[in-house]
Symmetry: D2
Subunit: 368 residues, 4 copies
């Protein structure tokens, strides 16, 4: 990626910190004539918003998005916005910048945080609220992703949390509809996992600890032919987009790391002709991507989110002068930042697919 | 990535297919004044070269690299080449293009191969030897990586195979020096793993089967400060570079997917001041990257290589007209393509580090 | 350029239309630690602002810039802003969106305007105020350029209007200080040209006509070594940046088109050693750039701005249905849009130099 | 541009110096299925080739192009090559590297040459034959352009030399067919200009002098809608591509600098509906581009080539130690490098149009 811009034809540039006046993104290269409502963007933002259960940070942010450019209203229905093909600028103001004493943190390197690395890179550091690394920055991604979803006709991108720490869902119970259920604070597709996760997280939260998670994203109705054999592989760009999210430490496509333990016989997805005139794959170990190019099967990616290092237990570290200190992070923090990563992952996969759809159309003229 | 070019300041463009006259790369943006020998490039290529044991394809390619531009000879020592700062073009001719009957493969979609996806993308397909997806393409990456190694003073990038299929090495036996041992056909750092791997692979080879593998890359002496908090994270670009390799289905940094099962206490790398005036990290769960920026610790990445789909066992598929066929792949194939991926992974990590070293110097002026 | 983003390390993305709520830019890749005041940005914007004389459009826009990210205040002096190295987002709200009847224009293709071309490209058109092509968009460029000026120590970038229509300044009267004089509405460096321009423009304005202009930009104290021999030539990027401005139809460097009429003897800038240990060039036909690389001499560029096509005289055209119409443009328009192009040209040249300064430092480590 | 790569979807990377073993380019992103003959490429190269008259350098280079990747042969006609959509690598070997004594030039800064600028940039310099700045490099551009011509159906890109020094052609005599005439060593469209140019150039050549030139490129049948309102304007990218050529100091589109002297009435191209259902423009001051977007009219660009600084008359300069020297350039040189710039300009305009055709198709899906 080139700095804070990603995508080649569907290009997203994001900006903003946790403690500045606002954050946002510019989506450049969006096709003209795409029709949507502001609520399409807002709904996705609301899914990512903090403060909705005791398992996520209690920071209160309305996360109201404003669209500043690149659209006109439909004269027949003011609610319908239509892209003009010029840059779409979206902005979300920061409201809840609760002031607190950052005195110590300004001079300490918190273990597991980027404090020391920032100082080595920039020699200056916005320590308030994590600066650029704040989870708030992901709102800009979600806004861009909401627009990206509109680019490829028929595509559906959904995500699910599949494990928290050592607790895994049972895939036999997978129910996409349950993810949006109001009693489901975890984006889990397995109703039976909720009490398990609740008990597990309550324990961690009370101990001032934190835990990692794994999220799975599934994109359906992706046309065959997107991507490239090498270097601009669809799965590579999805991996890159997901790895660009703060706290993500691993990504896999389809059966991913498990394929390293498989034989060629086990891994190859056999084909037959389907009744609809399209090939029918008898399995999907490949996660919808062969040789870097989509096959028309669902595209499947998973990513690992590490536990936040903002914990109450004191940890050994040093300050900016090299003195030994014990660091203990107070304040509002998610015990499992991975939970809210589900809509973020969906957004990043949506952007990768939209970009490759336009690139494929540009190079080959074979769709659209 | 932008098509077949990767890197932002240290930029590599690769080209070539298995069955054309040659393949190669153009390295653009290389700093001027870098001194090296042709044998530095050739040595890395020789490590990747096929035909060196019964566990890799028997295709015989000398893989002699020619440098066509971007260097001058040192007037005092003709063997020393010096980069001029202009594009370095490197070419490797294809020699062993054994002719065979590709008649069937031209019309069949091999399961697990990119055949169908290629046709969906391009409507035309170079089926001979895998076309652009051929493992031969990786020679260009290795050549570029050999030059990248010279960019950052002191950096050392090494790789090791850590598992083949269900057989893992014992990390207690890790010996970097053993990897280059002439009796070690596996790039394994564990001498005791060799007979285990041999027996395992002989069985698979005789059955005409194939198997996946996991490779680990470690980069030492990477300066602190390389990368960015988001979008151009050092770990993200490493992941992207590794995922751009054919057959790679997963990537992780540091403890990777295991961090999803950890608490914040377990995962945070504590710090103390070292005797050399630099911070001392008490562990390296982060794999040398915090918040997307290098910390000075060793940078660690792992990637999963799927088993090749070129197997003798017949698999169900269809041909280009949709007729059902049984596909059985004859010819020269690696039973475990992951073995030769070790020098390729090293090259891709080296390129990512070189690029970010120059980018960091450009933006901040803080090194070099 | 890649869509609405320009620059490789110092990257500017702009967004916004004339009749939306705001416009702005994101400056990404700015070095950390750059100190400036908001008034540094505002002062440049004020120079570009309309409504300051009868020779420019009477649209009233305060053009107040807000900085939304990428900076912190100096704790010792709140007025001083310091870049953090993360994206700097700047926004300017549109205030004076005077409503008028665009009914006809929405359906007519104005000759010399981009109306028809827009419809061919996008199939949808924001016709109000020129949409994306509005001169207001250039405010975002000026804001970015004001920051770019701070990147290269000591560099000074100034512009001057050197002709309006058939009226040229007398270079013998060149006085840089006069350009900012409050009695000088033309950015002309020649005090004697003012009454000439006034009379000339008054005549054109009363006739509802318009006229073109030529602007010259001079950048002093540009370090030697910026640029590249080919493809990323400093003069090429300056030309590209200037040509990206609306209504610019030609660019030249140094003696430009006049060199096509010169002999090698006339054109070559001879050199001697200066007293300061640096080479002394005896002339500057090259405009400070040789072989695409800066020499340390002043960098000189000129660009031609065509007359606006918004004129009162009816012109033949067609409407969206192909019917013949006579188009006459009412409303507020600059008789000579070239006048206000002076600070815009300065900004675009400043951005090109800042970008190449960082690129040069990145590749070679030879400055900074 | 990003280093030695240009274009966004149709991307060209060039490499090579005058005195290395070869030079070439990689064309990435070319649509699959484009059919051409090797002779299509070779014919364009032959037009650029030196040694064809006494008015161009006598260096003898066959300039035989080899295509190393990215194509397959048509099974029904081996002469027909078909692009596969993967990178097309083209190489031209250097043959006539006549050895001579470069001793002095290695230590002298030739006035008007890039010698000093190179040393400031790189600290190392390939002085033989101009290194990367050699006119030979343009062969790679011509090869890429020959492929670009095939991308947009029906497009025709032609160039003409319109002035040498102070001698202009008479546009009333314009005859495209005459440009390829075997008795026309100048790419002039005006048969009557040949004896004038001959006499003028013979005088300059005998005096060991050199002279500049202006070239005009006209692209016909360019679809309406290519480009963008700002930043990726079609005319801007054409200007950037032309300015990337060595020795080019100015570019203009349509009436270019002359528009700065025009009124809005004179400059606006009026429209009527044509008989073919397409708009008919009554003039083409705009050069086929309005608001950065093609209108369907012929796209017209002109560029100024400065005189080469390789002249026999001694000029004052300094050597690398700062000592005063008189420099006199011996060897084979074109008295007017602008003559051979005609096919180069055609190539660069062809590449810009091909790139924007694919970008337009990608973003809007409106053509192809």
């Amino acid at each position: 990626m080139s700095h804070n811009t990603f995508g080649h034809l569907f290009r997203v540039t994001t900006w903003g910190e946790s403690h500045g006046p606002a954050l946002g993104c510019v989506v450049d290269g969006c096709p003209p004539g795409i029709r949507f409502k502001l609520s399409d963007i807002q709904d996705d933002l609301d899914r990512r918003r903090p403060g909705q259960s005791r398992f996520v940070t209690q920071r209160r942010e309305p996360d109201q998005v404003r669209i500043l450019s690149g659209v006109v209203s439909d004269p027949d229905d003011e609610e319908i916005l239509i892209t003009t093909g010029t840059p779409v600028s979206m902005m979300i103001e920061n409201v809840d910048q609760r002031s607190k004493d950052y005195g110590e943190i300004a001079r300490q390197y918190r273990p597991g945080h980027a404090d020391y690395a920032y100082d080595m890179k920039y020699g200056i550091r916005e320590y308030r609220g994590g600066g650029r690394s704040s989870a708030r920055e992901t709102a800009a991604r979600v806004a861009a992703g909401a627009l990206a979803r509109k680019v490829v006709p028929g595509v559906v991108v959904r995500g699910a949390l599949v494990s928290i720490g050592v607790k895994d869902i049972d895939r036999a119970n997978w129910d996409w509809d349950y993810i949006g259920d109001e009693n489901n604070p975890f984006f889990t597709p397995d109703p039976k996992s909720v009490p398990v996760f609740e008990e597990y997280l309550d324990g961690l939260r009370k101990a001032g600890s934190s835990i990692g998670a794994v999220i799975e994203i599934v994109a359906e109705n992706v046309p065959a032919g997107l991507g490239a054999p090498l270097y601009a592989k669809l799965d590579q760009e999805i991996a890159s987009n997901l790895m660009s999210i703060n706290a993500v430490k691993g990504v896999e496509i389809g059966d991913g790391f498990a394929t390293a333990r498989m034989t060629g016989e086990e891994n190859a997805d056999e084909m037959r002709m389907g009744n609809d005139g399209k090939p029918l794959f008898l399995s999907n170990h490949a996660g919808g991507v062969l040789g870097g190019i989509s096959t028309g099967q669902p595209v499947i990616a998973r990513f690992a989110v590490k536990p936040t290092s903002s914990i109450l237990t004191p940890r050994q570290s040093i300050d900016v002068d090299g003195n030994p200190v014990d660091v203990r992070t107070k304040g509002r923090h998610d015990p499992c930042v991975g939970i809210r990563a589900v809509p973020i992952g969906e957004a990043m996969v949506s952007c990768a697919i939209a970009d490759h759809y336009l690139r494929h159309r540009g190079q080959t003229g074979r769709i659209g």
